[in-house]
């Protein structure tokens, strides 16, 4: 379960090899900045594919009327960018490859300071498919028209936030985290029908506060290998937790156990309800109730 995705294992292995093998400093780098912008041409939806192995990445909403804007700063001696928008399929693809498919050696990555900033139109529904390797990521999907988001990270420090409610209900939010520190903020603004979080090892914080415009029941799944999981629930949210754990502790204060399911006291009367299915192996599961 822990390393079930090769796409995560590869960048994870890359950074480990990097940390182990780096022996000499790369003193001089040639960075190139690639900026792109595209106007909206009646697109009904757009798909964003991002593959970014090393550096810092941000994602947010564009306020200037563009379909998307992006700025990529990369080492042009090592990498070759692929930034392509397919008009027919309405798909933007951004990724960095080694020159001519060459594998970049670990010692070449020392002190590499790459960056990718993406801003998306809030008015065009978007499918987001992102894979990160060793990155620090700050992703704010708040205010976007989100159809679906699939985010995979390797060894990273990732903050996923919904600073404001998304414009349209999203079908699914899926996050797969390798060995990382991951924090999701204001998931109550995501308006997603299904939320899935999978983590191999690390520290995970899932903050379910937000406006919870999506009434009724929302399903969320959490699979955790090893690490600490902190769950933050707003007091007005009805929460049911189904727990499948091996050697994990669960902070059950504020819950009533019925038929192997932990229910918050307001579950039956709450306007918005969350059914959380947790599958944890090792670690602590902490719960924090946030007053309105």
């Amino acid at each position: 379960m822990i390393f079930r995705s090769r796409r995560i294992a590869f960048p994870l292995g890359l950074v480990l090899v990097t940390m182990v093998t780096q022996t000499e400093a790369q003193t001089e780098r040639n960075y190139r900045t690639l900026s792109t912008s595209r106007q909206i041409l009646g697109e009904e939806d757009v798909t964003i594919l991002v593959r970014f192995a090393l550096g810092h990445i941000t994602l947010g909403r564009d306020q200037g009327g563009a379909l998307y804007r992006s700025q990529l700063v990369y080492d042009e001696d090592l990498f070759e960018p692929v930034q392509h928008y397919d008009r027919e399929r309405r798909t933007l693809e951004i990724k960095l490859d080694g020159h001519d498919g060459r594998d970049v050696k670990g010692r070449e990555l020392k002190d590499l300071d790459q960056r990718l900033d993406i801003a998306l139109s809030p008015s065009v529904p978007a499918r987001i498919d992102m894979e990160f390797g060793v990155v620090s990521a700050d992703l704010d999907l708040g205010g976007l028209s989100l159809i679906e988001a699939d985010i995979k990270t390797g060894a990273s420090e990732t903050v996923l936030r919904f600073s404001r409610p998304t414009i349209a209900p999203c079908e699914r939010l899926h996050v797969l985290v390798g060995a990382a520190e991951f924090e999701a903020e204001h998931l109550g603004n995501a308006n997603c029908q299904v939320m899935e979080f999978e983590g191999a090892a690390g520290t995970f914080t899932l903050d379910f506060t937000g406006e919870w415009q999506h009434r009724g029941e929302t399903a969320a799944k959490v699979k955790l290998g090893v690490g600490a999981l902190t769950l933050r629930f707003p007091a007005h949210l009805g929460v049911a937790v189904s727990l499948n754990r091996f050697l994990a502790t669960f902070e059950r204060s504020g819950f009533i156990k019925r038929d192997d399911v932990f229910y918050s006291s307001n579950y039956d009367s709450a306007a918005a309800r969350l059914h959380l299915d947790i599958d944890a192996a090792f670690g602590d599961i902490n719960v924090v109730w946030v007053p309105r």
Binding site: S35, T36, S37, R69
Partner: protein, 525 residues
């Protein structure tokens, strides 16, 4: 000091108009732009409403429009730095804002430019006619190349006019195989059987084909005279001729899916392109030929048939290979760590039951132990390198322990055999190396029946299973002995703690009258 004002929008319109005409060009708008800036140069790429791209590249003292030189400038000049500065600050601009910025862009002070270059640049920037003329030449050359290419295509198409060509890169759309079939149908009806068929730009498979889950075919794929079931991924177009295509759940085709004279059934899966099928054709693949670069996939006919004798020969070679490899490892261990190997070997010999049970109980604990160690170390970023080392080292250590245990067990068997021979009065020089060889011969001999009769159905499988089981038992006992003896450092379970009355010499009583002591080396004369 001069002030030059360049309006790239007009240059852009002019450059674009070279292809589509000036009137149309004026109606075009920029819908997307891409700016690439580095110390070596900078590039501005504009995409127009009709999908055309105009690229302005400023590098190495040359301004290029769509790759064609349109003017020169002095490297490091005011023009270059001003252009780079403009593009550097355009990252946050929309395309419209960028065009406004370009319109208001001013380059001051051309005095520093060399006279000759300055003339070119000044002319290029202040007099758009120069830019236009340069771009016209480039565009005309490009158009000429395109026309020449079109002529070549037309000639090739004329040559193939009598053939139905399956170009896997072009299944649908203009000049596609489907379009060609429709044209042929109009003129000849459904009977296309007399036409030859070529398959280009892809792999060809004859007969039925199943693409398993997790299997990925790079590039295009054609299946001729067979059905294809897709559970995995085709990273290109997929075509079937005289066969059906079934897309199962989880299947992925990154291009188009076309069945000629068959059906396409979608039980799930994802197709990035279009799905089409044409039925009621009478097509015979009289001359199926792949393009030279295409690699034909192995068919069932190409699978090498191995006879029973070949299998025996291969088995003997494999067995000998294992023997040599294990003997080399065993000799090395005898040389470098004789005491530890001896202790483990004696533990196997003296406490076989306990060793086997220890090894047996250790095996199911290995995976959880590995997972706990790796996961525990990987909690922190700092511990990740150690986790990787453990993740790699522990399986290697387990394999090493199994091999060591097996060799220790072999040595134990060899020891027992030689001791028995000595007890029976034979003259035997029982060196550790000889014990190892005899023991390996004994242990590997259990594979001999499997090698000899392994090609016989059922019996062969049974013998193979028995040989594997015997090997596993000995390796398990060896690993257990290594655990009990702490890798040969603790002799608690060996005969060293036995009373002398229970040592090997008393297991097999010797006939002292028949005993001749063995000598090492040459006898002294």
């Amino acid at each position: 000091m001069r002030v030059a004002r360049w309006t790239p929008v007009l240059a852009l319109a002019a450059a674009a108009g070279l292809i589509a005409g000036p009137v149309v060009a004026q109606q075009k708008a920029v819908v997307a732009h891409s700016v690439s800036v580095s110390a070596d140069g900078s590039t501005l790429e504009l995409e127009l409403t009709d999908g055309q791209h105009i690229t302005f590249e400023v590098a190495d003292g040359t301004l290029r429009i769509n790759g064609q030189p349109a003017g020169s400038f002095k490297v490091g000049s005011e023009f270059e730095s001003s252009w780079s500065n403009l593009l550097s600050h355009s990252g946050s601009l929309s395309s419209a804002e960028l065009m406004e910025a370009l319109e208001s862009w001013q380059v001051e002070d051309f005095e520093e430019l060399g006279h000759e270059l300055a003339t070119v640049i000044t002319a290029s920037l202040s007099n758009l006619d120069v830019v236009i003329a340069s771009a016209v030449g480039a565009a005309q050359a490009a158009v000429a190349e395109v026309e020449a290419a079109d002529v070549a295509v037309a000639i090739e198409e004329a040559r193939r006019a009598q053939e139905l060509v399956i170009d896997l890169n072009r299944l649908t759309g203009d000049r596609s195989v489907l379009q060609r079939i429709e044209e042929l149908r109009d003129s000849r009806g459904n009977d296309l059987g007399s036409l030859g068929i070529q398959v280009e730009n892809g792999r060809v498979h004859m007969g039925d084909l199943a693409i398993r889950r997790g299997q990925v075919y790079k590039g295009n794929l054609a299946v001729v005279s067979g059905d294809v079931s897709v559970y995995g991924t085709v990273d290109g177009n997929l075509a079937a001729l005289n066969g059906d295509i079934v897309l199962h759940r989880g299947a992925r085709v990154e291009g188009d899916v076309v069945s000629l004279n068959g059906q396409v059934t979608r039980a799930g899966g994802h197709v990035a392109g279009t799905v089409r099928s044409v039925s009621s054709l009478n097509v015979t693949p009289r001359r199926a030929r792949a393009a030279p670069a295409a690699r034909p996939m192995p068919t069932r006919l190409q699978v090498k048939q191995v006879s029973g004798f070949d299998a025996i020969g291969q088995g003997i070679a494999t067995l000998l290979g294992f023997f040599v490899a294990l003997a080399c490892i065993g000799f090395g261990m005898n040389f470098f760590m004789p005491r530890q190997l001896e202790v483990v070997s004696e533990t196997v010999s003296d406490s076989f039951g306990k060793s086997f049970m220890a090894g047996l109980f250790a095996q199911p604990l290995l995976l959880p132990l590995w997972a706990m160690l790796v996961a525990g170390l990987a909690i922190t970023i700092v511990g990740i390198p150690a986790a990787v080392l453990v993740a790699l080292a522990l399986p290697l250590a387990v394999v090493g322990a199994a091999v060591t245990g097996y060799l220790a067990a072999a040595k134990s068997v060899g020891n027992s055999y030689l001791t028995r021979r000595m007890a029976q009065g034979h003259v035997v020089v029982a060196t550790p190396y000889r014990s190892m060889v005899y023991g390996l011969v004994g242990l590997l001999a259990v594979w001999a029946p499997a090698v000899a009769l392994g090609w016989i159905p059922l019996i062969g499988q049974l013998l193979l299973t028995l040989a594997f089981a015997a090997t596993w038992v000995m390796a398990t006992a060896g690993v257990g002995a290594a655990i009990l003896s702490r890798a040969g450092l603790r002799a608690t379970f060996t005969g060293s703690r036995k009373q002398p009355a229970l040592t090997d010499e008393h297991y097999w009583p010797m006939d002292a009258s028949n005993f001749t002591p063995a000598r090492r080396g040459r006898p002294k004369k």
